[in-house]
Symmetry: C2
DNA sequence: ATCCTTCGTTGACCTGGATCAAGGCGGGAA
DNA sequence: TTCCCGCCTTGATCCAGGTCAACGAAGGAT
């Protein structure tokens, strides 16, 4: 996972991966959700699917990105590495989310596939031109960016003011809501939550250490806020208990 | 400061405050910076200046906002109050910054004037219509939102992974850069930095307590990274020393 | 089957920053 | 001038979460 020959080269590119946009399962969440058929056709012409294995880098920090794209499957992380090795995950990307920084060729953050992932990628200059010429695209990007900004600020509250326990609960709530959204289902008590990431990724997302994450999970299991099946699977017996323990959750993600 | 009769009512509204946009000192930083003369004239027709005293609330959390606007003078904070009183400042607004959440009438954060402040306010529905009909406005808002998102993520790194000392230095660097930008000057060693806010606001911005802020300032003074004139004024003897002590600063704000 | 190697858990201990508490200082009111 | 009162600083103590360390469980490779 650490020693891949070509960090920015996906493990597979399907150059002719022209699945029909109209059939795209995640389009309603994506930057192209407001597009008309002809606009979709144009995008379709410049799109390429890229697949990544879990742990594989997608874009490096400070690297010149040649593309950007929509997450189609899987989860990716966006993070910053400090000179001394400390790491902060500043965002998780779920299907529908846009990966990459429009209008800026070098991203100040690195993107890594957290699970096996698939990206609907666009050549950067072409996509940026499309953005400028297609109001429905630009408008949707603005909507998405405003929402992401709200989420980022929400997360700042968590990072700055919440206890380790509250952070864990907020994270579970976030992960559960994002999973539910894709399945178009509402939260229910007793639901299963699949954790898409390692303890280390969670720790780096929450501003904690893996040990603290592990301990808090054990503590939450003991008080019954969660029921642990195995390291990656848990049940949420009571959604409202979870939100209470999350300390002022704003239902945003 | 805590017991104001009408939280959302500014201390003064100049209804005929129609200073010419073309002469506006901060327009180049504002959402209207890409506008043509005719577009400026339209905005001018729907704008109103609002003044706030230091400490005065501008928009409450969860409150239905009737306006949003560009900061013209002064500094405002954007923050979230947790049910138990903990507070996190998620952003500072300097002249040129847009105050308020476009396309969403209720802001999930509260805005407070940190110093005496002046706002170029627009009626929300009218401004949103203008946004939708004016590509130069919408495009500029997108640019600004993308930049703010980068800054927010930068701040997440600080909140999640930096030490109290690094946080203080990053804050000084941020405040200095924002001040310099307005004056169109470059950072120089020995420059004076005016702190626009109280220890409490800094603490809430950095995810610290006032005591820690105070102690770190003393510590930084002792090691010579800053020179304290009084509680609100300090010198930055060496810009590079400051950035070193800030631990991986990305020059962003 | 056996060995790694990675990941997660748990325990023991430490420490950075929070908390609690006491003054200092400066500006406005009387 | 004196007295507040809101800020800021500093000291003493505490504790949530970090650090260090050991170990178990679950794959993969051979």
């Amino acid at each position: 996972m650490k020693e891949l020959a070509h960090p920015a080269a996906p493990s597979a590119i399907d150059l002719r991966g022209r699945a029909h946009c109209v059939d795209c399962a995640i389009r309603q969440h994506a930057v192209c959700s407001h597009c008309e058929v002809d606009e979709l056709e144009f995008l379709s012409a410049i799109k390429t699917y890229r697949s990544y294995r879990a742990g594989e880098p997608i874009l490096g920090m400070g690297e010149r990105a040649t593309f950007l794209g929509t997450m189609v499957e899987g989860v990716a992380s966006m993070s910053r590495l400090l000179p001394d090795g400390r790491r902060q995950v500043v965002g998780l990307l779920f299907p529908g989310d846009l990966l990459g920084r429009p209008f800026s060729p070098v991203s100040p953050f690195e993107y890594v596939a957290v699970t096996e992932a698939r990206l609907c990628a666009f050549d950067r200059p072409q996509f940026e031109t499309a953005l400028r010429e297609t109001p429905s695209l630009e408008r949707r990007l603005l909507e998405m960016t405003l929402d992401e900004l709200d989420s980022a600020r929400e997360w700042m509250v968590l990072l700055g003011r919440k206890s380790a326990q509250e952070k864990m609960c907020s994270f579970f709530a976030l992960a559960a809501r994002r999973a539910l959204r894709l399945e178009k289902r509402d939260p229910i008590d007793g639901m299963l939550l699949v954790l898409p990431m390692s303890r280390e990724d969670m720790a780096d997302f929450l501003g904690l250490t893996i040990e603290t994450v592990s301990r808090q999970i054990s503590a939450l299991k003991k008080v019954g806020v969660i029921e642990l099946i195995d390291a990656r699977h848990l049940l949420i017996p009571s959604w409202s208990d979870l939100l209470d323990a999350a300390g002022g959750d704003s239902e945003l993600d």
